[in-house]
């Protein structure tokens, strides 16, 4: 074990030696090590979050043919720091009718629900928080806390826009949670484990994105909806309900909702990389060759993971700044009448094929999985086309029943 192979355990072993040298009980040493590790990980996530503010603003500026922040520091890099300082020294206004305790808990809970996701995120083969054997459900559980934070914020603000925004957001989030949970079953079946690390390792030869491209697409759509980002940003539709559930929040409390959303988007980009693109690994066996052995170095793996996650995050941003907002009835109909049936079809297909093709050679297994996904996709498009022809109406007239065409 050297520093370059296994940095976490290397440092942990050294620190354990130091601390036991001070005659501390071993349980206490473990707790101290955990606290140090967690603090480092969270500080890393928060630093990344600050960087994301800059990236998001630069990217949106380019999409809209602007320059973006460019005054403070080189390329405006210091801009997010200035933003934070501004938010911290802003006056914090609590509206009169607010339910004060709930009002103050909500932003903290919103940020925490995102931060806890990092506990199970494997950054490299030897750099990870914890390898939970129910990791996939842990993601869903953290999302549940986020939903609760939003409904608390909307209710406690004592503002009708906030309440309406919270209801839209929550009905949106809970609806799209169903296809997301169904789709999480597919990596479970393919990798035969629910642990995030296990899923990453199962993809060392073949990405799940190739075995099940439809699952990837459904995951992307439901992840964007879970995040409440455009085109699913009805919760803060400025023209209707001004800003949604966080309308009354000022200063750093608003800042946590904003920072939480950005980090959440990046983290979901990371989960997309882990669940479908092999996470820190997944080089199709290349890393076994001696020439590419450097791909196994943990620090290189961290960079690979961050690059993949950033790519997922970029796709989420791309969708956000290119697609207009959808009406709420369309949004819910799209979920219940299109995404849920489609994801159930993909699930049944994957379950049966993974059983039937289990003993076949690798290439046949992959081809069968990919082909069946292709067939389902084509059939879906045909059904949609037939439906569209049957219910075709002149442009400009739209009814809720047309929402399926989304």
């Amino acid at each position: 074990m050297t520093f370059w192979n296994d940095p976490i355990n290397f440092i942990a072993a050294w620190l354990t030696g130091v601390l036991t040298g001070w005659h501390l009980p071993s349980a206490l040493v473990t707790v101290i090590l955990y606290i140090i590790g967690i603090t480092v990980l969270i500080v890393f996530a928060m630093t990344l979050d600050i960087g994301l503010v800059w990236i998001e603003r630069k990217v949106v500026a380019r999409f809209q043919d602007r320059l973006g922040p460019n005054r403070i520091g080189p390329f405006g890099l210091i801009q997010p720091v200035a933003d934070i300082i501004k938010m911290v020294i802003k006056e914090d206004i609590t509206p009169d009718g607010a339910d004060k305790i709930v009002y103050n808990i909500a932003p903290v809970l919103a940020a925490t629900s995102v931060i806890v996701l990092w506990a199970i995120l494997p950054l490299a083969s030897t750099i990870y928080g914890v390898d939970l054997n129910v990791g996939l459900l842990y993601i869903v559980a953290a999302g549940a806390l986020g939903t609760l934070a939003i409904i608390m914020a909307g209710w406690s603000s004592h503002n009708k826009y906030a309440l309406l925004g919270a209801f839209r957001m929550v009905s949106n989030m809970v609806s799209y949670e169903i296809p997301m949970v169904i789709i999480l079953l597919i990596p479970t079946i393919l990798a035969n484990t629910m642990s995030i690390r296990g899923i990453t390792q199962a993809q060392s030869g073949m990405w799940f994105a190739i075995l099940s491209p439809l699952a990837l697409l459904i995951f992307l759509v439901s992840a964007i909806a879970e995040l409440g980002r455009s085109p699913f940003d009805l919760n803060e539709a400025e023209s209707e309900i001004v800003a949604g559930f966080h309308i009354e929040y000022t200063g750093m409390k608003f800042g946590w909702f904003y920072a939480g959303e950005l980090l959440h988007a990046f983290t979901f980009g990371g989960f997309m990389a882990i669940l479908f693109f092999g996470g820190y690994g997944g080089f199709f066996g290349l890393e076994k060759l001696s020439f590419f052995a450097w791909l196994n170095i943990p620090f290189i793996q961290v960079l690979v993971f961050l690059a993949k996650a950033m790519l997922g995050y970029w796709v989420i941003m791309w969708v956000k700044y290119s697609v207009p907002r959808i009406r709420i009835d369309h949004m819910l109909a799209f979920n219940w009448k299109f995404l849920v049936p489609l994801s159930l079809a993909v699930l049944i297909d994957t379950a049966i094929l993974s059983k039937v093709l289990a003993s076949q050679p690798g290439w046949l297994y992959a081809a069968g999985m990919f082909g069946s996904n292709l067939v389902i996709g084509l059939v879906t498009i045909e059904i949609l086309r037939a439906y569209g022809r049957k219910h075709h109406q002149p442009a400009g007239v739209s009814t809720p029943s047309q929402a399926m065409q989304g």
Binding site: P95, V170, T188, K253
Partner: protein, 118 residues
């Protein structure tokens, strides 16, 4: 106790403390001069009309209801998906029967027009 849950618990505690730090700091340095106008409920520049905790559409509730049932059912599919590889094909069909019952619920809600936004 398992160490992994100890880790998650500590992560949760620190994950609460970290967001609190800037909030506490803001409390110390930010000005606080509240007045009645400033603290009134926001309403695009005009006086607030009516009760803020408005009655909302029951439709939101119907979707939450359908969600609850689906959520519970799909979560229970996870142990099944996990053991798929070790068990005979027959077990896969059991799971699919379970999904079929789920689909029946969806079809019913669809037919009854529950999924329409009225």
């Amino acid at each position: 106790m398992q160490n992994e849950w100890l880790y998650i618990g500590l992560f949760l505690v620190i994950g609460v403390i970290v967001p609190l730090v800037p909030l506490v700091f803001a409390r110390l340095v930010a000005p606080r001069k509240p007045n009645r106008i400033k603290q009134s409920t926001y309403e695009c520049g005009i006086e607030t009309v009516g009760e803020s905790w408005v009655q909302f559409k029951a439709q939101y509730y119907i979707f939450a209801l359908v969600f609850l049932v689906f959520d519970v059912e799909t979560v229970f599919l996870f142990p099944w998906a996990l053991t798929l590889q070790q068990l005979p094909l027959f077990v896969v069909l059991e799971g699919i029967l379970f999904i079929g019952i789920l689909v029946a619920g969806l079809v019913y809600a669809w037919r009854k027009g529950m999924l329409e936004w009225v």
